[in-house]
């Protein structure tokens, strides 16, 4: 197989899966088992409301138009992929070009919206995707015109060594992951031990796996261990106090003695 063909497949698989998941995200607008996705409905409602357009008809219509463009792009990528699999390279290239056009149109709309709604971070995000799409098309097209090199990879001695090293690395890494998971999974619910920083103020350094259940268990255990104390106030350490990447969440509990 030619190298250029594999690169074309990888480009198409990437954009087809990107478009597939984007369309699925619109079809499944909320959180369900096996799908979380992004809540575009809420986002659009809020964005249009910020313009003074409180009627949900504006947000839902905009979302529907965007979904149609995404679906069209998805179909173009899918047809391009199928045609490439069927060795109809020319037709595949045409469908890919159409897909890229619709995607570029979509990200142009998004960028206009970002400017209108004043969302500069999303503008950057959409601008980056826009240029990635354009360059993807250039690489897809340019490679197909200029390089006929076949894959040159045989079962030679160095390939055997490489596969051996890869397998060993995968096993070692997987064992490390399993070991780490085994030793830390309980932190998901285990209560955190507090340190008394000074009189009546305790600090809790939560692990990365810690969530609301960890917090609830921690408070329960703390109250059980300190029946003489009453919790007055809980303060969450803001991220400015938390700049060391190894700290997940700091919690300070202010108490007073019950007389």
């Amino acid at each position: 197989m030619r190298e250029k063909k594999i690169i074309q497949f990888l480009i198409l698989i990437h954009w087809t899966s990107f478009a597939t998941t984007s369309v699925l995200d619109k079809i499944i607008p909320d959180v369900y088992p096996l799908w979380v996705g992004a809540d575009f409905y809420t986002l659009f409602i809020k964005l249009f409301a910020s313009l003074g357009l409180n009627d949900p008809a504006f947000a839902t219509s905009a979302l529907a138009v965007i979904s149609f463009i995404e679906i069209t792009a998805f179909v173009c990528y899918l047809f391009s992929l199928i045609n490439l699999l069927n060795r109809k390279d020319k037709i595949s290239e045409q469908w890919f070009y159409r897909g890229i056009l619709f995607s570029v149109l979509l990200f142009s709309f998004f960028s206009i919206g970002d400017q209108v709604f004043g969302d500069r971070f999303t503008l950057l995000e959409h601008g980056i995707f826009w240029i990635i799409l354009v360059v993807s098309w250039a690489v897809f097209k340019y490679n197909s015109q200029s390089d006929e090199r076949m894959i040159n990879f045989y079962w030679s001695k160095d390939v055997k060594i490489g596969v051996g090293v890869g397998v060993v690395l995968t096993i070692v890494t997987s064992v490390s992951i399993l070991d780490f998971a085994g030793s830390t999974f309980s932190k998901k619910t285990d209560p955190v031990n507090g340190i008394e920083m000074f009189e009546n103020v305790y600090k809790f350094d939560f692990p990365f796996l810690g969530d609301k259940f960890t917090m609830e268990n921690t408070i329960k255990v703390f109250e059980k261990e300190h029946p003489e104390l009453k919790i007055n106030y809980i303060y969450t350490g803001p991220k400015e106090l938390n700049t060391k990447k190894k700290t997940h969440m700091l919690l300070y509990v202010f108490t007073e003695k019950i007389y």
């Binding site: 594999i6 809540d39 995707f129 990879f153 997987s174 780490f180």
Partner: protein, 270 residues
């Protein structure tokens, strides 16, 4: 196939250097990712990212609470990353031995694995609804694709063919580098000398109203500075109990010089 070594000697040096940097970049990129997974958790001299916690939370949000899903996903990722690393190291080895055709083949496999890995990550990002990571992985996918194009097409790019510098320009540029370097180094060390104490130093509270105090922390202040400041506040005001701490949100800290600001609300102890 295009030759890797066309052009003048200095052009070859320039183009080969760029190829070396591309190979080194991707080899180190995957090596450090593998190390990050092997080590797990924060340790002395390596913090890394707790991928297990991140992936476990992602699967938990999908309703897949069993740890096996996160482990399987991480093991599959580790496999892809390990083979990508081996491919780039293989490419580097053959490139060093000037076996450029074999180096290209190894590099190609590395790029294929890298593109596949980032596509796999991007699908996950959409399912888990993490659009920041989607952007990050999309960018890395793009960088890998461009790395491939530049690696194989660099002979078509005109690289300047004269690396030598004239004596006068060499002297002037060296003087500028040394003097600017000295000024910058002095400034950094001086700042460290005067400011490092702020990392843990106590900050005094300013009374705003009858029962409210403000504490403005410097940028360097961490949790120890916060704890020391609260401790000192309590020692200075034994008649007051803290009943609420309000962290000034970003919109109230628009001044670029504003670090963390907290307001302490107190009650008088009867």
């Amino acid at each position: 196939m295009e030759g890797f070594s066309s052009g003048s000697k200095t052009q070859i040096i320039g183009k080969d250097l760029i190829r070396y940097f591309i190979l080194l970049y991707w080899a180190l990129f995957w090596l450090l990712n593998i190390i990050d997974k092997m080590i797990g958790g924060a340790h002395f001299l390596f913090v890394g990212r707790d991928r297990f916690a991140q992936i476990e939370r992602f699967f938990d949000s999908l309703g897949l609470e069993d740890v096996i899903y996160a482990n399987l996903a991480l093991a599959l990722t580790a496999g892809l990353e390990a083979f990508a690393l081996v491919s780039f190291v293989g490419a580097l080895y053959h490139f060093r031995k000037q076996d450029t055709d074999t180096a290209r083949s190894w590099f190609f496999v590395g790029i294929v694995l890298t593109l596949a890995t980032f596509t796999y990550f991007s699908i996950g990002d959409q399912i888990f609804g993490d659009h920041f990571e989607l952007l990050e992985h999309g960018l890395f996918w793009f960088i890998a694709l461009l790395s491939w194009v530049i690696f194989i097409r660099i002979n078509r790019i005109q690289v300047f063919d004269n690396f030598s510098v004239g004596k006068k320009q060499f002297l002037i540029s060296t003087m500028v580098i040394v003097s600017l370097g000295a000024v910058t180094t002095f400034s950094i060390f001086w700042h460290n000398h005067t400011s490092f104490a702020e990392r843990t130093g106590t900050v005094k509270g300013v009374q705003i109203t009858e029962n409210k105090y403000k504490i403005e922390f410097p940028f360097l202040a961490g949790s120890t500075a916060f704890e020391n400041s609260i401790k000192e506040f309590k020692e200075k005001h034994p008649d007051l109990s803290i009943n609420y701490i309000y962290t000034a949100p970003k919109p109230l800290r628009l001044g670029q010089s504003d670090g963390l600001i907290i307001y302490i609300q107190t009650d008088r102890i009867k």
